[in-house]
Symmetry: C2
Subunit: 503 residues, 2 copies
Amino acid sequence: MTDQTELLAHLRSIVGQAHVLTEGDLAAYEQDWRKRDHGKALAVVRPANTPEVAAVVKACAAAGVSIVPQGGNTGMVLGSIPDTTGTQVVLSLLRMNQVRKLDAANLTITVDAGCVLQNLHEVCDNAGFLFPLSLASKGSCTIGGNLGTNAGGTQVVRYGNTRELCLGLEVVTPQGEIWDGLTGLRKDNTGYDLRHLLIGSEGTLGIITAATMKLYPMPASMLTAFVAVPSLQAAVQLLGLAHQHVGAGLTGFEVMGQFALSLVTKHFPQLQVPFQTNMAPTRPTACGSLPPEGDAPCLGRPGAAAGYPYCVVLENSDQESEAHARERFERLLEIAMEQGCVVDAVVAESIAQARALWHIRESIPLAQAQEGLNIKHDISIVVSRIPDFVEQTDAALAQAFPGVRLVNYGHLGDGNLHYNVQAPVDADAKAFLREQEHGVNALVYDMVARFNGSISAEHGIGGLKREKLEHYKSPVALGMMRAVKQALDPQNTMNPGRVLSIE
Amino acid sequence: MTDQTELLAHLRSIVGQAHVLTEGDLAAYEQDWRKRDHGKALAVVRPANTPEVAAVVKACAAAGVSIVPQGGNTGMVLGSIPDTTGTQVVLSLLRMNQVRKLDAANLTITVDAGCVLQNLHEVCDNAGFLFPLSLASKGSCTIGGNLGTNAGGTQVVRYGNTRELCLGLEVVTPQGEIWDGLTGLRKDNTGYDLRHLLIGSEGTLGIITAATMKLYPMPASMLTAFVAVPSLQAAVQLLGLAHQHVGAGLTGFEVMGQFALSLVTKHFPQLQVPFQTNMAPTRPTACGSLPPEGDAPCLGRPGAAAGYPYCVVLENSDQESEAHARERFERLLEIAMEQGCVVDAVVAESIAQARALWHIRESIPLAQAQEGLNIKHDISIVVSRIPDFVEQTDAALAQAFPGVRLVNYGHLGDGNLHYNVQAPVDADAKAFLREQEHGVNALVYDMVARFNGSISAEHGIGGLKREKLEHYKSPVALGMMRAVKQALDPQNTMNPGRVLSIE
């Protein structure tokens, strides 16, 4: 037997014949979510529990074979598929999908890493608790992947990233040992915080096999508003007012540029975007004059928000009542209008209307894809400097790449923009990307660096941005990261080549 | 010149003659806060800025001399004083005490590590923002020390530990390099989270020289209630109700055992503890019938809460108004009384009354010290299991050490108890501690381990608990910690012997 055959036989003895996949269509494991790349695995191994994961890791370590841990394989940065050599084992956590324990009095839930986020939501909903992490891929992504990449999403302004929601981990080390850190404690100052070291390490320091996550009491009411603002500076001012007046009630604050919204109107005309024309400021407009429920969502004055440079979706979660949430929200919008930082507003009257307003925001990536190829940037800048960053970067791009169109939207509450660049309207998008992607990236990331921002706010580094990280990250920080990687994974078998290279 | 003389000359050339202290009374730097221990430094070095810190570290590293970083020297676990060999340099950050920047729109403040917490509070207050970290030593402790030990305090139930309040660090590495991680970003997924690795590492992985911390809008109102509960289980039930009904408004939830309160009454009779006798449940009692302001605090019925096993101090912070805060708080207490988990309650009518109620809670450690020597435990257990833990541990202690008295109080909202053991009333406390401290500690910590809790919830490990950590912490976790330490500080010159030993 060759070494590889021996290893495969060993792996089959650990997880069972049926769970070592080497043949057939393995695209679900080998192709990345954005369909940019396709790797080739030595095998896809699907352990059923943590001891099996540990045994698989030990077997691979002994054979010197590297491992690519994988959850829902929904990552954006080529961090969860194997390379093309056919020598790496994909270790899929998908069979480990059980809720281990919900502790109501401790407000925690302990789950296997392979639990799909949406399933976790359902368990929590049914028990009357909120698990706030929410992102577009929630129907496929797993909590282990969310932790490995420190996923963000739409609720970060209130609840933080996945990191802030985690109270403990169970981890299999690169040596195949099991660290049980599933304490569920809110305070534990007993040495270095290995939990935070593993979170966001993208499978390069060990494999997260389970986690204890925070729960919150379900809010009595969640209200959504869609408002037009006269500038990005005004959106920042509105954010400050929202923090001041609704405090921790502010659970969503998403900004959308006018061109991004126009793409939604163009490609999904059934999603009527509020505010057709640039109108004089009005009082907050509830949608009461429209059908309050049903297919037609809450829409104020349908259209493409054409006259306003930016719109904002705000969400207010309230522990008290819908009436109280509405009163607070409308008071906020009144103050914002008095100060001139909101020029038009609708507040959803029903859950259906709220969903419709969120759906506009969530449709931007799809509308953008419909419009054609584009260059994506997941960046963050301190909130106070975002208006300057956007003004300067918009201008620099317009000068360097005449005609480019900017699809700018994102989680302004966290300083996180999806600042994407669409080819000029008359250009061959494929050729534009081929010729200009590198230059566009360099311009945007150089500007991010000048503003002391991050070139990956919520998607991580993976294989896609590793070289960029080495260019932009502080050499001192990179040196510390490399020292930690070499200390914990001296064989470099855990997701090698991702996040950082080991010379 | 000897090596030491050479090093001292070098250090003087870096920070100036006046800031290398080798003579006179250095007790402020060499004696620990609890006056348990007194070390002897080679020198106390007081750099003025980060480049000076880096130069000092490089000089010491070259000389193979180890460094004890020190802020306000208020630590509880012998982590910030030198050992007795006279060979370690104490690096005091106290001269680095400036606020570098307050960014209102980003809700952040960037400060030198040596900034005293209370000074930071004043700057934030004056600018209309809340910096929520609050602990007993705030007049002396520094933000760098708070970060190095991941300090907790009384606001953790809402705002988290110091860790959760930090958005970026500036750090001098053990090699004397400067890592500038002061981004102020709320999202940054570019590699391993070195910030969280440094926070809570107690100066063993590098020296924190500055930090960017989160701010919050100042609440419109903060209300305090003091309630009696029939059992610890009822206190846990009340906590759940408070989370549900006031949500993020719950900014304090402190439990106090009857014996702890009786010590306050005994040693500080001017602090009238509410609820003299075990009375029938009443409606929430505001203190309106007492003088609303002035020296006499809000006291309901003065006394020692003698009939109630536990009392709870709750704080409700509200972004809206005092009237709203009061309405929500009284509604919560009504529900809690209906459910039987609160049997008596007072709500402060003024800030003076609120301070008086908090002052009772804060006087417990002093009252306990007045009563005599005692054995302290800073432990955490998941909230849901605290009643069982206390019942079983109380019983085991009573059996093993007849007559011991339990001063049990703490941050129940975070599962953190200060579970302290006072000698029997007729015992020689000094002899009791000498003979029984080890046995008492072993019993309590063994029980903590059985409940999967932490032997140091908020105080850290330092030199005091290092051997205990090696006994109680998972060997896998200890192995990972040791690998990280050796990778980042291979010379073992950064606060050696603290947190963990390097063989």
